[in-house]
Amino acid sequence: MADARTPPFDVDALLDDPATRIVVCCGSGGVGKTTTAAALGLRAAERGRHTVVITVDPARRLAQSLGLTELDNTPRPVPLEATAKGSLHAMMLDMKRTFDEIVEAHADPERAAQILANPFYQSLSSSFSGTQEYMAMEKLGQLRRRDEWDLIIVDTPPSRSALDFLDAPKRLGRFLDGRLIKFLGAPAKTGGRAFRLLGAGLGMVTGVIGKVLGAQLLKDVQTFVTAFDAVFGGFQERADQTYRLLQAPGTAFIVVAIPESDALREASYFVERLAAERMPLAGMVLNRTHRSSVPLLSAEQSEAAAQSLERSGDNPLAAAALRLHTERVRLQARESQMRQRFSAAHPAIGLTEVPARPEDIHDLAGLRQIGESLADTAAPGCDQGA
């Protein structure tokens, strides 16, 4: 079977290795990144690591299962069983508060207040796209510098593309440090001179910006830039620093996907991008897969048997069981075909599967089970062929 080529992803080896300091869970929206991050955190903690999980926008019940009942920007301890060898903290990212804290830490109180009250800043810190990713990276950098935990697990913000986590902070940094904002922020007089110096086309640009954005915004940006520049320095540089942290030894990426073509395509893009950026990919988690406990009874056999029972009408229970089995085997076959296609394109990437569950995760016991599936290298997804 082609399966034999797929190396297993040894999750425990990754979590147990003291050299592993940061694990980043990436993937497109709706694949179960947050749950995976939480399950990894719990498993690492129970196996002896002092772990903190940064989640972004977790589902309510998952947050509850971690003991996080409200949005809180600081790591909170998660009570574990006495047998746990390490510890677990969890936090939910509040991007606005993270941003505010940076401002407060870098500016004197008067100037900080001025910045926090600026309408452009408020919009930037709460609703600019890219701010969430930027602040997730910022928080990661902060926790790493605090050095209170030996393992940080990061869940990345929900976005259509996993690549946003890598690109959005730089994009925002580039914008904040860029020509546009300098120009918008320049007082009218020098601004006028700057345009002439910058060359052709700029008269048009001023016209457009004035027309489209209006004068009020320009004024807000000007006061913001004046107040901000003095205290903060380069945004892009800050983003670059965290970016380098992602390339440093001790950081590992995990790509999460589900066996559907969209999610796997996204995972493929991301894998290629990580390689291009020299960022280490530890492995891939294929979430919500379906497995039959009787793989040897083929779909054809099972369907034929179900049909013969349905004709006689005598054994509805067995007929239903066979119908169900038929569906399941077909689904499993489709899923493994997709998995094999992925593995053929990325043969070096270790893979582990987490079976679909009939119910959601409500508590630590559920998370622990996910952790067990993650670490199960004997699972069908990683086997050497049936």
Binding site: S129, P158, R171, G178, V212, G214
Partner: protein, 356 residues
Amino acid sequence: MAEGPTAVTHKIRCVSARDRDWDGVRLHVVTGKGGTGKTTLAASLALALASGGKKVLLVEVEGRQGIAQLFRCPALPYEERRVATAVGGGDVHALAVDAEAALLDYLEMFYGMRRAGQALTRFGVVDFATTIAPGMRDVLLTGKATEAVRRRARTRKDRGARRDTAKAPFVYDAVVLDAPPTGRIAQFLNVNAEVAGLARVGPIRNHADRVMEVIRSPETRVHFVTILEEMPVQECLDGIAQVSEVGLGIGGIMVNMVRDPLLPPGALAAAAEQHVDTEALAQGLKSAGLKDAGQLAGALSGELVEHARRVRMEAEVRERLNEAARPCYELPLITGDLDLPGLHRLAGVLREQGAA
């Protein structure tokens, strides 16, 4: 505004030959949690609305080329083109809106400044407006969809006469917007509030106001796609609450990938509690000619238990969906790769249930 939805459906119900829930609605916004089949059902709804000779535009805004993949056609350019013919002769046209192209369109339309594009790109303005500034991108995307809703046919004759097109027929009988996921939908549609922080007055604000007029009108409905699982259902209910809160009309709930239970209720309830009559099961397997019936029965009963638990969970979340008190449409799970016949089948189901 709040009574709009009921008023429209009520009025239509009285005059419609067939019981259709959304007659009079011209902009159908379709949202759903990732993985629930939002794009598939948006496309099916477009096909359903087009059937019988109507012209419908299907719009995507997330740059995924999801429509092209569904209809198995080459990547869609920023241009409306026909992608399918509906049952009874209607047409579905599709458009993949690109924020950058929409921005240049907008500048040309209102300021005659298309050529400014290059300078704007160089200066970072395009990047700012299409990827960074809150709401700008959304207002450009929704702006394109609402423009298609308002657009009226222009004949050669009335091209010269301004504003004389008021009585001309609309170009599209309906527009279906494959919108961003549930978590972002209220924000996406409430463009006014979104751009308010950046532009309290001025042209952007005016544009947002025009877009909002269409989105808030009783001719616009937001439909929610979900599957019968806890998290998507929770997100669906949260999304409905958020969209209602900003004063927009809620449409129906499309429950996707529904599977019929394979056992009668009694047997299901027992199986959910791990009571499976393995002897009867083994007996049945044996009479179907299968080997090792006893062992096989043990293994298959595990699959039955899981199925029964899933069905039980589905019943619970279906109950919760009922709390929303919106029309629900149930779409069957289509196994294998979804193709055009599959879309037509889903469109047929939507029509049978009165969604179109």
